[in-house]
Amino acid sequence: MDLNYTPQEQAFRQEVRQWVQAHLPKDVAYKVHNNLRLSRDDMQGWAKILGKKGWLAYGWPQEFGGPGWTAVERHLFEEECALAGAPRIIPFGPVMVAPVIMAYGNAEQQKRFLPGIASGEVWWSQGYSEPGSGSDLASLKTRAERVGDHYVVNGQKTWTTLGQYGDWIFCLVRTSTEGKPQTGISFLLIDMTSPGVTVRPIKLLDGECEVNEVFFDNVKVPAENLIGEENQGWTYAKHLLSHERTNIADVNRSKRELERLKRIAKQQGLWEDVRFRDEIAKLEVDVLALEMMVLRVLSAVSSGRNPLDIAGLLKIKGSEIQQRYSELLMLAAGPYSLPFIEEAMSAGWQGDFPGGDATMSVLAPTYFNFRKTTIYGGSNEVQRNIVAQTVLG
């Protein structure tokens, strides 16, 4: 056991740090550090910079163009990006659909789709959830009927994060109603510019449109866009979901936000308030304990062991921590978190903010928005069901 990173790992960190410092646009980092609103270009711009360096696909095997990093190196890369204030990598392309294409797509599909994902040129969205099927994903109803050399897709997806920017969407669709619900599902890649695709943004409680409904009305999808075999999509989706992702804990971002919380608490004169400081102290212990848990999982993965009984805890604790720091940030601003001034949430606003500092404008909306973290990606209730299974059978 050793808490210290090896000299090689430290050198790797330095390399990443210097590169990120040199290439991350300052204005984007400012927005991220203050949680101001990011444009599509802010996000995709950074993705393309990473793509050019070959680091957008940082988790991919070398045979598909990944850098071949160890689990620890991937973690250090994520940490350096987060601490520097880089936008989060939108996962739907490089982290979610790419592994499925690599594992189950044919050579033609790999050649066609992977380069655009690795370069950041093509924006992917996810089409899993439907209005009636959230935790119970297998009950999905969107149909794809094979007609000649294409599928005709009808139905509706929802909660499609940033789908308004999407070029392509990977979908679970029903190709058969026979057998168990899981058996009739296929995995289909759909060009979002196809006729019949409509995207309707859903305004969330913080005023932003972060998710969307996506409607499919007789959308023609070439049969060559089917991944693997018809009716085997559930297997591929499970592969995607079970794909080890320690970053689900988002501990690096929480470290950055913890520092920000301390900074704002100082600004607000709360550092001397033992009651508020104690709340930060408790959060600090939480973040540290989560980080240790993440490192344990990384160690296990690196040595080829299955850390499944701990990995299930990362999502729960990680999301609870995100909610807590967003809440404390809002409470630190106190009354000055109350004005809802949309313009103030974008960088560069020159107005007079009632609290005196326009960066306060985002704190309550972020708190509101972060209620999602215990709901999405498998609600924490579902996660607890899974953890209980590992303990109780």
Binding site: G207, L331, P335, Y336, P339, P354, P365, R371, T374, E381
Partner: protein, 372 residues
């Protein structure tokens, strides 16, 4: 010892509830938010229901009702997420009826009671956080008139008000002043707040003002207590409806082929929400019943205890309601998310939970410190 409502109180509740159900639909509310968070017509409708000047003595032109009536009204308005700041009518009425001279009362209590005049308290200062007393607003007297200068934040519907009650320092002591709309040197910039209601940033530059009282600390403190009690009662109403919405949703939504109200973990969460609601309701009663407590420290403690409990209750109920709804709970188009946002804003109004815990802890008595 009696915790029952009188028949009159129950009728008042029914009247307000009916108005909320009929006149304050989610659609109308959306429209009000879209047009700035305050609707003068609503204010007039509340006045027509007889709710303005509710606790102002009849001799002074008010309705002459008591604290419990005010609480009942606020609970019901909370159920409908009514944006218009009814609590301001209560505390402005109290300040004027208790402290203003006859001339001021004559000028303002009647229009307050008729709903013609919206009078609000402008007390929040920049950098003052939850401290009540003014620090940066100065008053000076010259040639028989007073002028005030300073800045106030988050004044409820401030840019639409007809008069403001403004705490300012007069020779180093807190005094309360009344400033009329149209007075020189007033600048008001309105904006929405997180729950959709309206507030304004206000600046006074050598603005002529009428003195309400030089005993401003005590008057302001009591106004704050009415504010705290109002938050408690509103919170109870908001939570009441939140539980109903959540229970309805759990009884409709199906996953894995069954209604999710069947899942025991969710059922127990609902039981815990009910617990928090009832603890909160109990402490809201306590707050209103303690508003006239003669002993100053005991009164301060009572209101802080109530606000602390409500803070705990509103946080739990609000957060869990969203969680139990899942995705729909975080959308703007679903009414439930607005209940959550309102509960959050109420927590931050008049001092958050940690602030009031500090008051309770720092002033704690050696006795059990509870009733009897």
């Amino acid at each position: 010892m009696d915790f029952n409502f009188s028949d009159d109180q129950l009728q008042l509740r029914e009247a307000v509830r009916k108005w909320v159900e009929k006149a304050y639909s989610f659609e109308r509310r959306k429209g009000i938010v879209a047009s700035g968070g305050f609707d003068r017509a609503v204010w007039q409708e509340l006045a027509e229901l007889g709710l303005m000047g509710l606790t102002v003595p009849e001799a002074q032109g008010g309705m002459g009702m008591g604290a419990i009536e005010a609480m009942v009204v606020l609970e019901e308005l909370g159920q409908g997420l009514v944006l218009e700041p009814y609590a301001q009518a209560l505390l402005a009425g109290d300040v004027l009826a208790q402290h203003a001279d006859a001339a001021l009362q004559q000028a303002w209590l009647a229009p307050l009671t008729s709903g013609e005049a919206l009078i609000v308290l402008a007390s929040q200062e920049r950098g003052a956080r939850y401290q009540l007393e003014p620090v940066g607003t100065q008053a000076e007297q010259s040639a028989g008139t007073y002028h005030i200068s300073g800045q106030k934040s988050l004044v409820p519907a401030g840019d639409l008000a007809d008069a403001w009650i403004v705490p300012a320092l007069l020779q180093g002591e807190t005094a309360l002043f009344l400033v009329e709309k149209g007075a020189s040197g007033v600048q008001a910039d309105g904006y929405l707040t997180q729950d959709g209601s309206r507030a304004a940033e206000m600046r006074f530059a050598k603005t002529p003002a009428k003195l309400i009282t030089t005993n401003g600390s005590a008057a302001l403190q009591q106004a704050a207590y009415i504010g705290i009690a109002s938050v408690c009662a509103s919170g109870v109403g908001v939570m009441d409806k939140t539980l109903l919405l959540t229970a309805d949703y759990l009884n409709q939504r199906k996953q894995f082929g069954v209604v999710i109200a069947n899942f025991q973990a969710l059922r127990h969460r609902m039981a815990d929400m009910k617990m928090q609601l009832e603890l909160g309701r109990s402490m809201s009663y306590y707050a209103w019943l303690k508003l006239d407590e003669p002993e100053a420290v005991e009164r301060k403690l009572a209101l802080s205890r109530a606000k602390y409990q409500l803070g705990q209750s509103m946080r739990f109920v609000g957060q869990q309601a969203v969680q139990l709804h899942g995705g729909i709970g975080v959308t703007d188009e679903y009414i439930g998310s607005h209940y959550f946002k309102t509960l959050t804003q109420l927590e931050i109004s008049w001092g958050d939970s940690l602030h009031h815990l500090g008051i309770i802890s720092d002033n704690m008595q050696e006795t059990a410190g509870v009733a009897a």
